[in-house]
Structure formats: structure tokens, C-alpha cells
């Protein structure tokens, strides 16, 4: 097996970093299969948005759900069969805007699922409106005078909520993405992979990312929180952006807490 792609025509813009994310998913799944996982154990759950189109391009089991609802859908699939390796794909719009409530609680429940967020800091498929992670002053069609709020920092939020695997990767770094996705799927509990993924059409921060991304290794909770706060998602000029696994710990999963009844 050389890849897990379908024959469907890929409709992402030419050169979109989403191709890189998909290649990393492909690498991670293939690597896990060589380590003994079965292909039919993998499930790709998708939100609605550009990144979520990955549902059509991966030839593994999958459910393409509703905008903002990828987290509860993936949660249900996991609860339905905890043996499945559930990868949930959504964007910043779906996960941090429409579906933020679900994200908050998933961090608390700690279900064994991997959430991969294509964070391009913009709604792309609806042609470029601001999301919860867009920077102050970002001008788009619905905000001709620019938006006025600070972007939220998903890593800080996840850490504060008790998520047990918190990571950020650059969509321009295939190797790092492949490794982190593999680690996240192996992690027992809720894994967040925040993918910084420039949108070439509506929000291109490729140069910034190339220049300022640096790698980190997993660290203790307090250090991870401090590291996560170093880049506030607002700054696209100076400032350094840490990538890698910030924090991971083994805590009782949702399955262990609720699905196995006390004797």
C-alpha cells in the first residue's frame, strides 16, 4: 500500500497547504498500519469547510458531518466503538466558532479521539470572513473596518481545560506533521493538533510561518502554558511560533470513566 487516497478530484486551490496536511495523514496512517493497526480501524470524521473536504480524498471509513459538529460526531463514533482510531478534521471556523462549546467539553471528557484543526485564521470556503483566531484589524467583506477582538489562543484554552495532548504544527513541515499525527493517534485520550495552515487565497501568512516557526519537545504543564502564551495569534510580523507537542499526559479516558461499568 503506498497511499490511502481515493480517485476523487481534489478541489483545493493549487498549492494549498491542505495537500501537505493530507500527505501527513497518509504518512501517519501508513506508518501505524506497518505497526499493526488495521486500515478498517481508522475513521476520518469531517466538519464543513476547505480542510474538511479531506473526507472525499481519504479511502478509509469516514463520516462527513455538519459544520461545527465534528467533535460530538467523532465523540459518538468513539463511544459507539472505542476500538476505532477516530481522526476528526475541522477548521478554526467549525471548531472554534460554531462548535466551541463541544471543543470545551471534549477537553474535559478526554475521549480517545484526535482532533486536527486546519487553522488558517479565516473562513475560506465562504470566501474569506474572519474567525475566532483572526488578528485585530483583519479586513474582510463583513468587516470593512476590520475586526476589533484579540484572537483566541486554542492551545492555552485546551491546556486550561485539561486536554491531555496539546500540539501545534506548521502545515509547511510535512515530517513534523506526520510524526505528531502518529503520536496523537497513539495517545490514549483527547489529542488536539492545531495546524497552522496559511490560506493562499484569503489569509496567507506563509512567509511569517517559514521565518518564525521553531520546534519544541513536550514539557511540564506550567512550562507548556507559558510556551503556548508566547505567540498570541495576533502578531504576524515579529514573534516566534513554537511547534511540536507542548504537553501530554495520561489521564482516565472517557471510555475508562464511563463505558466500563464498575463491577
Amino acid at each position: 500500500m503506498t497511499d490511502i487516497y481515493t480517485d476523487n478530484k481534489v478541489t483545493w486551490c493549487p498549492g494549498c497547504p491542505d495537500f501537505m496536511v493530507m500527505a501527513a495523514v497518509n504518512n501517519a496512517v501508513l506508518s501505524l498500519i506497518t505497526q499493526g493497526c488495521k486500515r478498517e480501524e481508522f475513521v476520518a470524521v469531517a466538519d464543513i469547510g476547505c480542510g474538511s473536504k479531506i473526507y472525499d480524498y481519504l479511502s478509509i471509513s469516514g463520516m462527513n458531518g455538519l459544520h461545527g459538529r465534528v467533535v460530538p460526531t467523532a465523540f459518538g463514533i468513539h463511544v459507539g466503538n472505542p476500538k476505532l482510531k477516530v481522526m476528526a478534521f475541522g477548521g478554526d471556523g467549525g471548531v472554534y466558532n460554531e462548535g466551541m462549546g463541544h471543543f470545551v467539553h471534549a477537553c474535559r471528557y478526554n475521549p480517545n479521539i484526535t482532533l486536527i484543526v486546519f487553522d488558517n485564521q479565516v473562513f475560506s470556503l465562504t470566501t474569506g470572513q474572519s474567525t475566532a483566531t483572526s488578528e485585530i484589524g483583519f479586513i474582510e467583506k463583513t468587516h470593512p473596518f476590520g475586526i476589533k477582538e484579540m484572537p483566541l489562543n486554542p492551545l492555552v484554552l485546551a491546556l486550561e481545560l485539561g486536554a491531555t495532548f496539546v500540539s501545534r504544527v506548521s502545515a509547511l513541515d510535512l515530517n513534523q506533521m506526520s510524526e505528531v499525527i502518529e503520536e496523537a493517534v497513539k495517545h490514549e485520550g483527547f489529542s488536539l493538533i492545531e495546524v497552522l495552515q496559511p490560506c493562499l487565497s484569503y489569509h496567507d501568512f506563509s512567509d511569517f510561518l517559514k521565518k518564525n516557526a521553531y520546534k519544541i519537545e513536550p514539557m511540564g504543564y506550567e512550562m507548556a502554558l507559558k510556551e503556548a502564551k508566547k505567540w498570541n495569534y495576533n502578531e504576524h510580523e515579529g514573534g516566534k511560533v513554537a511547534t511540536g507537542i507542548f504537553f501530554k499526559e495520561r489521564k482516565p479516558t472517557f471510555e475508562e470513566k464511563y463505558l466500563k461499568k464498575p463491577n
Binding site: 481515493t6 476523487n8 478498517e40 480501524e41 475513521v43 470524521v45 464543513i48 473536504k53 473526507y55 472525499d56 479511502s59 478509509i60 471509513s61 469516514g62 463520516m63 462527513n64 458531518g65 455538519l66 459538529r69 467533535v71 460530538p72 460526531t73 467523532a74 465523540f75 459518538g76 463514533i77 468513539h78 463511544v79 459507539g80 466503538n81 476500538k83 476505532l84 462549546g101 463541544h102 470545551v104 467539553h105 464511563y258 463505558l259 461499568k261
Partner: protein, 522 residues
């Protein structure tokens, strides 16, 4: 014989608990019993009451006159005194009230802070029934709990006292089990092999959530509560995607939140059973009072066109049967089935002879974890790949339309309507109004009662009954006549305002109300 016992007081005084014990005691003594629960949306205080109707034939309603009143407070008497007659017996734990109206005083608080069970001893004494009917019930429910010993002492003492009255009730063989509509739905789900129930508390759907949560200890399934109903509905379809037999439940506002997911359910063709229990609306409405105002929502909610099943049971027995049928149709066709109840059905106590279902729920052939399994909320081709191709769109839409037709055929296996009584005239109803209409029938000469159980797929055989009837009326607990409108829409029959007996004070029908309205409109 129909005999009505009203028990009233403040929330927190144990009114409903006492009514349960008395009802079960009377069931054990061989009577048919209906237990109506009327409570406000408060934890302590306010005014709550139960009406227990006792009969020697099957019943599904209570009456507007009260034969025995048990008043925990003055307000109960003031609120309900209009329902009393010369022979009514009143007992109270309020000394002032007993002196004021010269009724029986029960020293309920003599032994226990709760004290509610004392009235059970009093009641069984004046009914002339063995005290063990109620003591056994207290044993079953409260043995080992803190107030148990005092409860028993209370009952014994109040039973020994002399009230100068004996109504000479004659015990006989027990007629069946006593269950609420909610418990029957829970039992139906368990016997249909439910594996996961996802929920979020909302009155009056909460009792099913609680009952199934409790029953987890004895059965092999899990109940999971989530952050909100949006999470619940998406997780439900997710678990169904993984091959599990899944159920969920909510009430109006929660169902509103679910409807985006319901529409997805239509597209992804995954089985799911949803219990939708109605309360007064719109908006926050009346959490603890009954209504049939959400029939239209059950039938038409969710964007786009897709097949669904809507079944409205009328009593606890049908709650059980219809829940099993809902699972059958959902699993067989990959659709969402809605069990439409209301507060009156979900929280009233009914007697019925439990028989385990014979229906075999189809096993799922395809699901995630077993080969390549895909589901898509976008329009899709036969392999579930997203498509915008006009020909493929038509194919996919036709597949969903065909499913509606197949459901129509398959549902004929089940009792989609029931007809009671004899006559050339017709009363039509659905859901919880069954009890009051059926109980009114003996007083309405020349009238049949047609109960519509399946709202979707719509039972077109109704047409025949309407055509053959001289007069027909439709009774509903809403202000517009949503069933009447459905019949008009499906059968092209005009139904005028005089034919619509509508009650929208969010209280259930009584037989008398039905009789008076029919006679007034004839």
C-alpha cells in the same frame, strides 16, 4: 365505578411519592388505577397535587369530582374545594384547617419529618382494604432508607385509628403492572436492545433519561449525557455510524436544537430513535404541563426533504410497543423514528399487563470498523462521495423518497390506528388524549373513537372511517388542531372549527370535558 382521590400540598412534602405508594397499593389490591401528576416548576413550596382514579375496569384518565381529598396544606383545600361534593371525605395534617372545615385530622408529623406515608394508613383504613397492600409497597420502595421505620410506624398507627367510615372496597386479583409512560418507553428500549442512550435533561423527557440511567445497573447498555442537545444528536448519529443501536430523548426546545442534526440523519441514512416529549410552548413555555403543540415540529422539522417516522403512543402499553416498533423501522430502513409523547403520558401512571415483545430488530450489516464504511452530509453518489452532478442528485433524492414509500408499506405490519366502540359518529385523537376519550365513550352513544398512532407514515385507512361517519370531531391538546390540519392535508377533507375540540390550558382532557364538548357541538 370511578373513584377519585386527590392528594395535594407543597413541592418537597412527598406528595408524588405518597401517590405512588397508594397507587401501587391499590394495584396490588386488584384495582385499575390511573395516577395523574400535576406539579409546578419549583423544588420546594408552590402547589402540587396528584389525582388517583380507581376503577374496576380499565381506565386512562381522572375526573373533575373528588371523592377523597388529602390536603397537606390549606391551599390544597382552597384550590380544589369546588370539586368536592356532600359525600366527599377530607383529611388534612393542618390542625387549623381541620377545625375550620371540620374534617379528619391526621397527625402526620408525629413520628417523622416527612410524615407523608401516614395518609396511606388512613386511606386504606377507610377504603376497608388490608394495610399490608400499602406496607408491602413501602417495604419494596424504602426498606433500608433512613425514614423507613418511621414510615411504617406512621402507617400502622393511622391504620389502627377509627375514622367512623368504611367504604368497603373489595380486593381482588392483581390486574397488571403499574408504570408511567416513561418507564414503559425505557422498557421498550431495553427489550429492543438499545446499546446507547444520549441525553440532556429537559422536562418532561427527563424521566426516561433517569429511568434508563438507573436500569444501566441491570442491563448491558450505557447512558451518556453531554454538553447540549446539539452534541447529543450528533454523537447519537456518530454512535449509530459505529453500528450501535442508539436512542435519544428531549422536549420542544431541545428538539429545536436537534433539528439540524435530524436533517443530517435524513441525509446519512443512519438509524436513530428519538423520544420527543411535549410540554406547553412556544419558547420556555410550561415545563411541567402537558400539550400536543409539537406535532407539526415532529412531522416537518429539519431542512430539506427526507423520510422519517413519527409514532404517538396513547398509554403505557403503547409506549412500550411503539418504542420497539420505532427501533424496528429505524434499523430496517436507516431512518430516524420519533416517539411523540407529552407530559401527561410521560408522567402519569398506567396499569397494564406486561408482555415481552416478539418483534425481532434487524441486525446491522454495515458499520464503521467493518470494511470501508462512509456517510456524507453533503449530497453524494452511491459510494457516498460528495457530488453536485444533477443526475446523481436525482438518484440520491429518489432513494430517500423511495424509503418513505417503503416505510409506508412496512408500517402496515403494525397497528397504525385503533378503533374503539360502536356508532355512526367518530371522535379522532392521538397520543395521551386516548385515556380521556376512551373513558368518555360509554357516555357518548353512537360514537366510535379512532386513535391515530402513526402520524408518519400517515395511515390513509382513516379516510374510510371518516367517509362512513355521519359526524366527526377531532380532540387535541393544542390551539390550532394540528392533527386536523394533517388530515386535511393528507386526505383533502375540510374540517371546520366546530369539529375541532381544542384544549390549550396545558391541562389534560377529562372524560367529562370531552362529553360536554361533543354534546355542545352536535
Amino acid at each position: 365505578m370511578r373513584f377519585n382521590i386527590l392528594i395535594g400540598g407543597k413541592a418537597g412534602q412527598g406528595i408524588n411519592e405518597l401517590a405512588d405508594v397508594i397507587s401501587e397499593g391499590l394495584v396490588n389490591a386488584g384495582f385499575y388505577v390511573f395516577n395523574y401528576r400535576d406539579y409546578q416548576s419549583v423544588i420546594k413550596g408552590g402547589h402540587n397535587f396528584n389525582i388517583i382514579c380507581v376503577s374496576d375496569t380499565q381506565i386512562g384518565s381522572y375526573d373533575e369530582n373528588i371523592d377523597i381529598m388529602i390536603a397537606f396544606d390549606n391551599e390544597t383545600y382552597e384550590f380544589h374545594k369546588g370539586k368536592l361534593n356532600k359525600t366527599s371525605i377530607i383529611a388534612t395534617s393542618e390542625k387549623k384547617l381541620s377545625e375550620q372545615i371540620k374534617c379528619i385530622l391526621i397527625d402526620a408529623l408525629k413520628y417523622s419529618k416527612a410524615g407523608n406515608m401516614a395518609f396511606a394508613g388512613f386511606l386504606f383504613k377507610i377504603l376497608g382494604l388490608d394495610k399490608n397492600y400499602v406496607i408491602n409497597e413501602i417495604d419494596r420502595k424504602f426498606k433500608g432508607k433512613s425514614l423507613y421505620e418511621l414510615d411504617i410506624k406512621n402507617v400502622e398507627e393511622c391504620y389502627e385509628a377509627d375514622y367512623g367510615k368504611n367504604l368497603n372496597f373489595k380486593a381482588s386479583k392483581k390486574k397488571g403492572s403499574f408504570l408511567s409512560g416513561s418507564e414503559a418507553i425505557g422498557n421498550g428500549a431495553i427489550d429492543a436492545g438499545v446499546q446507547l442512550y444520549f441525553g440532556y435533561p429537559m422536562t418532561p423527557s427527563t424521566p426516561v433519561l433517569i429511568y434508563l440511567s438507573e436500569q444501566q445497573k441491570a442491563h448491558d447498555y450505557n447512558v451518556i449525557t453531554m454538553e447540549n442537545e446539539i452534541g447529543v444528536i450528533n454523537a447519537s448519529y456518530g454512535a449509530s455510524f459505529s453500528g450501535k443501536r442508539v436512542m435519544s430523548g428531549t422536549s420542544g426546545g431541545g428538539f429545536d436544537l436537534m433539528t439540524e442534526g435530524l436533517s443530517m440523519g435524513g441525509m446519512v441514512e443512519l438509524p436513530l430513535v428519538i423520544h420527543l416529549s411535549q410540554r406547553g410552548g412556544p419558547s420556555s413555555g410550561l415545563p411541567t404541563y402537558t400539550s400536543q403543540c409539537d406535532l407539526n415540529m415532529a412531522l416537518y422539522s429539519g431542512h430539506g426533504e427526507f423520510p422519517r417516522v413519527v409514532i404517538a403512543p396513547g398509554d403505557a402499553e403503547e409506549c412500550y410497543d411503539n418504542t420497539v416498533e420505532a427501533f424496528y423501522l429505524s434499523e430496517k430502513f436507516g431512518v430516524t423514528s420519533i416517539i411523540l409523547t407529552d407530559k401527561h403520558l410521560a408522567e402519569s401512571g398506567y396499569i397494564y399487563d406486561i408482555k415481552k415483545t416478539q418483534i425481532k430488530i434487524p441486525e446491522r450489516k454495515e458499520y464503521a470498523g467493518k470494511g470501508l464504511f462512509k456517510r456524507n452530509s453533503y449530497e453524494h453518489d452511491e459510494q457516498w462521495n460528495s457530488t453536485e452532478d444533477p443526475k446523481k442528485i436525482i438518484k440520491s433524492v429518489d432513494k430517500r423518497k423511495k424509503k418513505s414509500e417503503d416505510l409506508g408499506e412496512e408500517s402496515k405490519k403494525f397497528e397504525r390506528i385503533k378503533v374503539y366502540g360502536k356508532g355512526n359518529n367518530l371522535i379522532i385523537g392521538f397520543g395521551s388524549t386516548k385515556g380521556a376519550i376512551a373513558d368518555a365513550l360509554p357516555e357518548l352513544e353512537g360514537y366510535k373513537f379512532l386513535q391515530v398512532i402513526y402520524l408518519e407514515p400517515f395511515p390513509e385507512e382513516i379516510l374510510d372511517y371518516i367517509k362512513k361517519s355521519k359526524k366527526f370531531f377531532i380532540a387535541e391538546n393544542n390551539s390550532t388542531g394540528q392533527l386536523a390540519d394533517l388530515i386535511t392535508r393528507k386526505l383533502a377533507i375540510k374540517i371546520d372549527d366546530n369539529q375541532r375540540i381544542l384544549k390549550y390550558d396545558c391541562r389534560p382532557f377529562t372524560p367529562k370535558y370531552i362529553i360536554d364538548e361533543v354534546k355542545r357541538r352536535e
